[in-house]
């Protein structure tokens, strides 16, 4: 396998596997938020704000994986 091919394969694997965890995490967050809104519709505004904050944290991990993939494609040319 040429280094070029390995690089591109690594980029695909990085973002592919890296998005599993955050995907599950965001789904769980949304599930918790929806359940609590269902139980207490009046607090919906506050719950939504906190849900978005939690989602941002979870999504940041996926973004790290994406940045690694992009570095492999665009930056690591000489490797």
């Amino acid at each position: 396998m040429t280094p070029e091919a390995a690089r591109l394969l690594a980029a695909g694997l990085a973002i592919g596997f890296g998005a599993i965890g955050p995907g599950l995490g965001i789904g769980l967050l949304a599930m918790g938020a929806l359940q609590s809104i269902g139980r207490n519709p009046e607090a919906a505004g506050q719950i939504q704000i906190n849900m978005f904050i939690g989602i941002a944290f979870a999504e940041a991990i996926a973004i790290y994986a994406l940045v690694v993939a992009m570095m492999l494609i665009f930056v690591a040319g000489g490797i």
Binding site: Q46, I49, E59, I63, Y64
Partner: protein, 318 residues
């Protein structure tokens, strides 16, 4: 013809025009057998580091002027002009630009009060509001249609690409890391100011428990042997270790802030470019809408997380 028919009529007309134009474009290769579309187009340059437009030749330290720097200056100029016009001739009952500005300030101030409380809100509000508004404008600067095609033709790696004049400042790691540094350092400053230097640094270097060890070992706190050992471990080893973790987490916050914003906006730009070539007329509006939403959310998250960390830093525990 009632009003409802009229409303649907205009929508149907526009849709029909749009579909007709698609059919005309799609039929060109069929109707004209020798027709071959000109497939040599220049892509805008995609790279993580922002592209240099010019270099100021200061001897010993050449200063690069990148397209994201130009865009950041443009964003600042826009915001300053807006505030200038909003605060000129201020009236008690606001109208026009002042009204819009007051709405925005009121909304953000309400958010700051709801997270930080009435007492701390005036101190944190300028930071949080500036971060929110500047990041919002900087995210949206990259979405203006057509700007990616206006630029200088250069040759990168043997291919001709276009270097656009404007690139969203949030895609520049310099801007995002700088903003994250300011955010985290301001948090430390407010923490020290509220709690005093000794108390604040004892959060990270938590050796307070060590001073109570002699009393503990002498048996002054009546504990069973197992509990005694657990307490010993907790005060001597676990608490300092947790404090060290908190310190590392402060550094991780800088990385997390900057890369969250950078990754979201840069990936959004790349996706828009790819979709623009993959699914030209149909995919672009959907993804532009997504990018509008993502830009708003990321600005909001940066500001709210800064606010939350500032609030937590100034809380008096126990």
């Amino acid at each position: 013809m009632g009003p409802k028919t009229k409303k649907y009529g205009i929508g149907c007309l526009l849709s029909a025009l749009f579909l007709c134009s698609l059919c005309v474009i799609g039929a060109l290769p069929l109707c004209n057998p020798g027709f071959r579309p000109n497939l040599r187009f220049q892509l805008p340059a995609i790279q993580i580091a922002p592209e240099k437009l010019a270099v100021i030749p200061i001897p010993g330290f050449p200063l690069p002027i990148t397209n994201s720097l130009v865009a950041a200056l443009l964003a600042s100029i826009l915001l300053i002009t807006f505030s200038f016009f909003a605060t000129r001739k201020m009236e008690l009952i606001p109208r026009g630009v002042q009204n819009f500005a007051e709405m925005a300030v009121d909304a953000v101030y309400g958010l700051v009060v709801s997270v930080a409380g009435e007492k701390r809100a005036p101190k944190f509000f300028p930071w949080v509001a500036t971060i929110f508004i500047f990041v919002l404008v900087s995210n949206y600067l990259g979405l203006i249609p057509g700007l990616a095609a206006m630029g200088i033709k250069e040759i990168h790696h043997g291919e001709t690409v276009i270097v656009p004049f404007l690139r969203s400042p949030s895609t520049d790691l310099n801007m995002t890391v700088g903003l994250a540094l300011v955010s985290v350092l301001a948090t430390q400053y407010y923490g020290i100011r509220a709690l005093g230097t000794l108390r604040y640094t004892s959060k990270f270097f938590n050796f307070r428990g060590l001073f109570t060890l002699p009393a503990l070992l002498a048996g002054e706190e009546k504990l069973e042997t197992m509990d005694l050992i657990m307490e010993l471990f907790r005060r001597a080893i676990i608490d300092p270790f947790v404090g060290l973790l908190e310190l590392i987490s402060e550094v991780a916050k800088i990385i997390s802030f900057s890369f969250r914003l950078f990754g979201n906006i840069f990936a959004g730009e790349v996706v828009l470019l790819v979709i623009g070539f993959l699914l030209p007329y149909l995919g672009t509006p959907a993804f532009l809408g997504l990018e509008l939403f993502v830009g708003l959310i990321q600005a909001f998250i940066f500001a709210v997380l800064t606010l939350a960390f500032m609030t937590m830093a100034t809380l008096i525990h126990e």
